[in-house]
């Protein structure tokens, strides 16, 4: 699956049926500080992802 990080860099990661929460923690990201979409749709962090999924992480900027 493809992971698009908050800095817009992209990475292909291996894994099937992996909880999104686990991926975020492996990346050192607190799930509360990002919102995540899969193939363009917002998903909760306990979603299981894998295969051809495109996972995009958006950092929540403070303030405003």
């Amino acid at each position: 699956m493809k992971l698009i990080l908050p800095d817009r860099s992209e990475r292909v990661i291996a894994g099937e049926n992996v909880p999104l929460d686990t991926i975020l923690r492996n990346e050192g990201i607190n799930p509360l500080e990002v919102i995540v979409s899969r193939n363009g749709t917002l998903i909760p962090e306990d979603t299981v992802v894998g295969g051809d999924d495109v996972i995009r992480l958006i950092r929540i900027a403070h303030g405003g």
Partner: protein, 318 residues
């Protein structure tokens, strides 16, 4: 209640069969798009109703920076407006003059106010104080948030007064409020911990209200994304200097490991207020001896800042 476990690995809404887009980790409830949007709207309506934040006849000035919190605040207040009798909303944008940051959010604020059909007023630091925040701060960047906070407060209050507002609404969310509680505890500042800025001001200043105080930062981001109003705006370049940034990171980590931490912190504040009535002597409201603004000491924060900066903050504020 939806009982099937998931759709393509995506949990279902706890209230219908639709795929969930959000989980409330404290309650373990999942929300689909429509139930999530309804939940946030209802929570804000409940906050306003239970605390009597907006009453018939109010003119509510909304501090609209164009960032995510104030954007969500204005959208939610406008959506709730038909339920209130004779209430009017005016958006107020303060352009501090932060190069490479504020230009983009001001454009976003302009577009939003125009789209929602809300009256929109602008004030700028150069017009009010004679210089941009960048110019005022030169060499004082570590104090950026303190200085900006005092000037923004003055600018917003003046603009709200000029608009005839009876309430000043800001986009402070649950994360902001929990951070403030912890920061006041860390500083040992009990008076500030129990201060209520929405309390009756007897007409001396416009009460400030925080309708998003029960909505988390992540919920606000999700709300905007689901309403196609998310803009990937930059973070204020001065934010890296703030103590708040460290407290934010620590609290966010605790909230993740122990869901409900921020809400419990806010509940603790409420319990302290109730359990210790009179423990903190209410300071009488006085008038600043230089500008006449209401304050608790001889000088208001703005006039103290003028002295600290060792320069005249000029402009049409007296």
């Amino acid at each position: 209640m939806g009982t099937d476990s998931s759709v393509c690995g995506q949990p279902r809404c706890s209230f219908c069969a639709e795929p969930a887009v959000f989980i409330n980790r404290r309650t373990d409830l999942h929300f689909c798009r429509s139930h999530f949007l309804a939940e946030i709207r209802q929570r804000v309506a409940d906050t306003i109703a239970t605390r009597n934040l907006i009453v018939p006849g109010d003119i509510v000035a909304v501090g609209l920076s164009g960032g995510k919190d104030s954007t969500a605040l204005l959208m939610l207040l406008v959506s709730l407006l038909p339920a209130w009798e004779n209430v009017r909303i005016v958006a107020v944008t303060v352009d501090e003059g932060i190069h490479g940051y504020r230009e983009e959010t001001v454009r976003s604020a302009d577009l939003l106010a125009r789209t929602l059909g809300v009256e929109h007023r602008h004030v700028t630091f150069p017009d009010l104080f004679g210089d941009s925040l960048d110019g005022i701060l030169a060499g004082r960047e570590p104090q950026a948030c303190t200085i900006c906070g005092i000037l923004r407060k003055k600018a917003l209050a003046g603009a709200a007064r000029d608009a005839g507002a009876t309430k000043l609404a800001t986009g402070h969310n649950l994360d902001d409020e929990a951070q403030s509680v912890l920061m006041n505890v860390l500083r040992g500042d009990l008076p500030r911990l129990v201060r209520d800025s929405s309390a009756d001001s007897s007409g001396r200043f416009i009460p400030r209200i925080k309708p998003l105080m029960a909505v988390s930062e992540k919920e606000i981001a999700a709300y905007l994304l689901l309403r196609d109003a998310w803009a990937d705006l930059p973070e204020c370049p001065y934010a890296r200097h703030a103590l708040r940034r460290e407290v934010r990171s620590m609290l966010s980590s605790l909230e993740y490991r122990y869901p409900g931490t921020m809400l419990r912190l806010m509940e603790s504040k409420g319990k302290i207020e109730k359990a210790c009535p009179g423990a903190v002597a209410a300071e009488p409201l006085r008038s600043c001896r230089e500008c006449g603004d209401p304050c608790s000491g001889e000088l208001c924060q703005f006039c103290q800042l003028k002295r600290t900066l060792g320069r005249k903050l000029s402009g049409n504020l007296t």
